[in-house]
C-alpha cells in the first residue's frame, strides 16, 4: 500500500485571510500614490508663511493658486501663489528688489521686501529618513 505524500499544512484558512487582508490594506493606503504621482510640494505639505515684522500674518497652501495682498510698512504688497511657487507680484517699495527675486518653491527658501518689512517663507515637513532634500538657508 502506498501512502500519499502530503506537505504539512503551513497555513490555515485564517492565515490566508490575514495575508489577503493586510495586502488589501497596503493597496488601499498606497495604491493611489502609485497610480497618481503627487507633486513634490503637495507630498511634503508645503505652505507659505507670511510675516510682517516678526508677526505671522498669513499661512497659505503652496498648492492652491492664490493672489493676496498684505499691507506692509510702505503700502500694499501683492503676492501670488502659482503652480507650487510664490512671488511678489507688485510691491509699494521704491527699489522693487523683491519683485525681481522670486519665485521660490522649496522648503526653507525666503523672499523679502525689506522696506515693507515683509517676509514670505516656505515651510513644511522635512524627512529624517535620508531623503532630506530641503535647505536650511540660501546664500544670495
Amino acid at each position: 500500500m502506498h501512502r500519499a505524500f502530503r506537505l504539512p499544512p503551513l497555513f490555515t484558512s485564517l492565515d490566508l485571510l490575514l495575508i489577503v487582508g493586510l495586502g488589501a490594506l497596503v493597496v488601499s493606503v498606497y495604491g493611489y500614490r502609485w497610480i497618481k504621482p503627487v507633486p513634490p510640494s503637495q507630498a511634503s505639505g508645503l505652505q507659505v508663511s507670511i510675516q510682517l515684522e516678526e508677526e505671522v500674518v498669513g499661512l497659505f497652501d503652496l498648492n492652491v493658486d492664490t493672489v493676496f495682498t498684505i499691507s506692509g510698512d510702505l503700502g500694499p504688497v501683492e503676492l501670488e501663489i502659482f503652480d507650487g511657487s510664490v512671488y511678489f507680484k507688485h510691491s509699494s517699495c521704491p527699489q522693487k528688489i523683491c519683485e525681481k527675486s522670486g519665485p521660490i518653491r522649496k522648503r526653507g527658501e525666503v523672499l523679502v521686501c525689506a522696506p515693507n518689512r515683509l517676509l514670505a517663507r516656505i515651510k513644511g515637513a522635512a524627512f529624517s529618513n535620508g531623503s532630506e532634500k530641503s535647505l536650511d538657508s540660501v546664500t544670495r
Binding site: D15, L22, G23, L25, S101, L135, D136, S137, T139
Partner: protein, 366 residues
C-alpha cells in the same frame, strides 16, 4: 508540523508583511519623522528686519526659551553694529566720520570701526583699488542706497564730474595702530554695506557661541554663518542662489561649525534701462556697474567679514582675475559668469567644490 511550529510560521509571515509595509511607506516618502521631533531637537526660527535686510536666526535645541533668549542677543548685537555703520543714521559713527571730511582734524575710531575700516582698505589694496569703501556719493547718484526712490541711470557727465572731484578712500589715512583717522576734504563718503553685514554675522555667531548655543545659523541678507549642525545632524545645507533662474540653485554648500558663506551678484539690486542691466556693484574707476562678465560670486571662509567683501571683489575682478586672486590667497570660492555667447559658465577653486554639491546643469565648467 506540530502546533508550535505552525504558530512560529504564522508569526514569521506577519512580521515579513509588517516589514514590507514599513518599507513601502518609506519608499512612498511619507514616513519620515518631522525633522527635530524624533530626537526632541527642534529648529527655532526668528526673523527680524535690520541693516536694510532680513536677519534670520535659527537655533537648534530642545529648549525654546533658551533659543528665544539667544536669538534676542543676536538681534541686539546686530542692531548695535547697525548703529555704528548705518550711513543714513545721523548719529552713527560712520555718519560722524563722513561729516568730519575736510575739517583738518584727526578723529579717533571705535575698535570695531577700526577693524572694519582697516579690513576694507586692505581689501581695496588686494583688489587693485576696485573694492572701494568710500563710494557713498556715487551710490547716491545712482540711487542704489536711496530708501525713498528707485535707482536710475545718471547722466554720464555727472558721473565723470563726481569721479573727478574725489579721491575716494585714498583720502582716508589711518594712524595710531588704526585707532585714529584723518579724512581729506576730497575723500569719498564712507558706505560699508559691502563689508559691515559680514562683520555683523561674525559678531552674531560669536554672541551665540558665548551664550552656549551649540547648533545655530545666522543669515543676514544672504551672508551666513553657522555653529554645529542642522537638521541632518552633520552640517547646515545652504542653497547657492542661481543668478538667472530664481527657482533653481547652483548647488548646496554644506557648512560645518565655524564656517561662513557669502554671495554677491548682479541679480538682486538692479534695474533695466535700454535693454541693459544696471546693478549696484559699481566700479570706482568707471563709475558704472562692474562689467567683467561675472554675474555671481560665492566665497566660503572662516569669517564672514572677508567672505562678504571678497564676493564683491570677485564680481569687480571678473572670472579670470577673480580666480587668480582666490588661488594666490588660498581662498575658497565660485564665480559664475556670462560667456560671449551669452551662456553661463563657472570657475571655482578645487576646495570650494569639496563643500558644494553642484547642480550646475546647463552651466559650462572651465
Amino acid at each position: 508540523l506540530n502546533a508550535t511550529d505552525r504558530l512560529i510560521y504564522r508569526i514569521a509571515v506577519v512580521l515579513v508583511l509588517a516589514l514590507v509595509i514599513v518599507g513601502m511607506k518609506f519608499m512612498a516618502g511619507g514616513g519620515g519623522v518631522v525633522s527635530g521631533e524624533g530626537d526632541d531637537m527642534v529648529t527655532h526660527v526668528f526673523d527680524s528686519f535690520t541693516m536694510g535686510t532680513i536677519l534670520s536666526v535659527k537655533v537648534r535645541t530642545t529648549d525654546r526659551a533658551f533659543a528665544e533668549r539667544a536669538a534676542g542677543l543676536v538681534v541686539d548685537e546686530v542692531a548695535r553694529i547697525n548703529s555704528i555703520f548705518d550711513p543714513m543714521e545721523p548719529e552713527s559713527e560712520i555718519s560722524r566720520l563722513n561729516a568730519s571730511r575736510g575739517n583738518g582734524k584727526a578723529g579717533s575710531l571705535s575698535r570695531e570701526m577700526s577693524l572694519v575700516l582697516s579690513s576694507a582698505l586692505r581689501l581695496r589694496d588686494l583688489s587693485g583699488g576696485l573694492f572701494e569703501p568710500a563710494l557713498g556719493d556715487l551710490l547716491s547718484l545712482w540711487g542704489f542706497n536711496d530708501r525713498s526712490s528707485s535707482a536710475r541711470l545718471p547722466d554720464s557727465l555727472d558721473i565723470r564730474a563726481l569721479l573727478d572731484s574725489t579721491i575716494l578712500s585714498q583720502g582716508i589715512v589711518l594712524a595710531g595702530k588704526d585707532s585714529v583717522v584723518y579724512l581729506d576734504r576730497r575723500a569719498g563718503r564712507l558706505e560699508m554695506g559691502g563689508i559691515a553685514k559680514g562683520y555683523a554675522v561674525d559678531r552674531a555667531v560669536a554672541v551665540l557661541r558665548d551664550a552656549g548655543v551649540s547648533n545655530a545659523l545666522v543669515n543676514l541678507g544672504g551672508e551666513i554663518g553657522v555653529l554645529g549642525a542642522g537638521s541632518n545632524g552633520r552640517s547646515w545645507r545652504i542653497g547657492v542662489q542661481h543668478p538667472r533662474t530664481d527657482t533653481n540653485h547652483l548647488g548646496v554648500v554644506e557648512l560645518t561649525d565655524g564656517m561662513f558663506v557669502a554671495t554677491s551678484g548682479d541679480y538682486e539690486n538692479y534695474f533695466m534701462a535700454d535693454g541693459r542691466r544696471y546693478h549696484h556693484i559699481l566700479n570706482p574707476r568707471t563709475g558704472y556697474p562692474a562689467s567683467c562678465g561675472a554675474v555671481s560670486a560665492t566665497v566660503v571662509g572662516n569669517d564672514c567679514l572677508n567672505a562678504d567683501a571678497l564676493a564683491t571683489v570677485l564680481i569687480l575682478l571678473g572670472p579670470d582675475r577673480g580666480l587668480e586672486l582666490l588661488k594666490e590667497n588660498s581662498l575658497c570660492g565660485l564665480i559664475v559668469y556670462l560667456e560671449e555667447s551669452g551662456s553661463l559658465a563657472f570657475k571655482a577653486t578645487e576646495n570650494f567644490l569639496k563643500f558644494m554639491t553642484p547642480d550646475l546643469s546647463g552651466i559650462s565648467i572651465h
